[in-house]
Amino acid sequence: MDTMLHITTLHYLVLGAALFLLGVIGVLTRRNVVIVLMSIELILNAVNLNLVAFSQLWGGLHGQVFAIFVITDAAAEAAVGLGILIAFFRNKETVNIDEVNLLKW
């Protein structure tokens, strides 16, 4: 009974993988750019979960420090991405990524 209730690192990794998959599905299938950016946040959170889980597994703090750096990157990415989104919405009056096709030949 005790071994069944014990949460190992593998459980955290499977949870991170599931969250990563949800983010990938969101990025690949949704049309709304805002929701695509939110799915990218989900992916980054999955990576953070793995980093902190391994940090606890090996008893160090490197993973947690890296998780903080990843959070910093996520903030920067969200700011720039939403700025691009506002510029795009001003030009095209839409937030659908199907219509972001200026680079398509």
Binding site: V24, I25, L42, T72, V80, I86
Partner: protein, 153 residues
């Protein structure tokens, strides 16, 4: 937490997605607490659930959502996207079922009391250079966001 993640990618209204994402982030902060990482949990709540989500909600309010709610929600290559995601999921399952024995069962118990102090010491000691690079990245992101959102440069 997974329910929140599913809601993020299935809701029609972006505001509902944002609320579901907040639920997911808070659940993840509690998981950080379970993993003896109180500082990362605090940063998660303050920065993600506080800062980034406010940014998202502002942008949702700026762009008009009335039209996009009524439109088709999934893009034209969603079949390919689902196939690729399924392949990735199969890869994850294969890797984790084959390699689940390589992880040791026990975990080192980390002292929780001075976690924040230790993280700060590492951040300003061993990772000093990366810390400076991160601040430079944030500066670039601020300038980039302002330039992108400006009407006329």
């Amino acid at each position: 937490m997974l329910i929140g993640g599913i809601l993020v990618i299935t809701r029609r209204n972006p505001v509902h997605s944002a609320v579901a994402l907040i639920v997911t982030l808070l659940a993840q902060a509690s998981i950080y607490l379970m993993l003896y990482a109180p500082f990362v949990a605090g940063v998660q709540i303050i920065l993600y659930a506080g800062g980034i989500m406010v940014l998202f909600l502002f942008v949702i309010m700026l762009v008009s959502i009335d039209r996009s709610i009524r439109e088709r929600q999934f893009n034209s290559q969603w079949v390919v996207g689902i196939i690729a995601a399924t392949a990735l999921g199969g890869l994850f399952i294969a890797v984790y079922s084959k390699g689940k024995d390589i992880f040791p069962d026990r975990a080192f118990s980390v002292a929780e009391g001075d976690n924040t102090q230790k993280v700060a010491t590492m951040l300003y000691g061993q990772y000093m250079f990366a810390f400076e690079i991160a601040s430079l990245l944030l500066l670039v992101a601020i300038i980039g966001a302002v330039v992108m959102a400006k009407k006329r440069i």
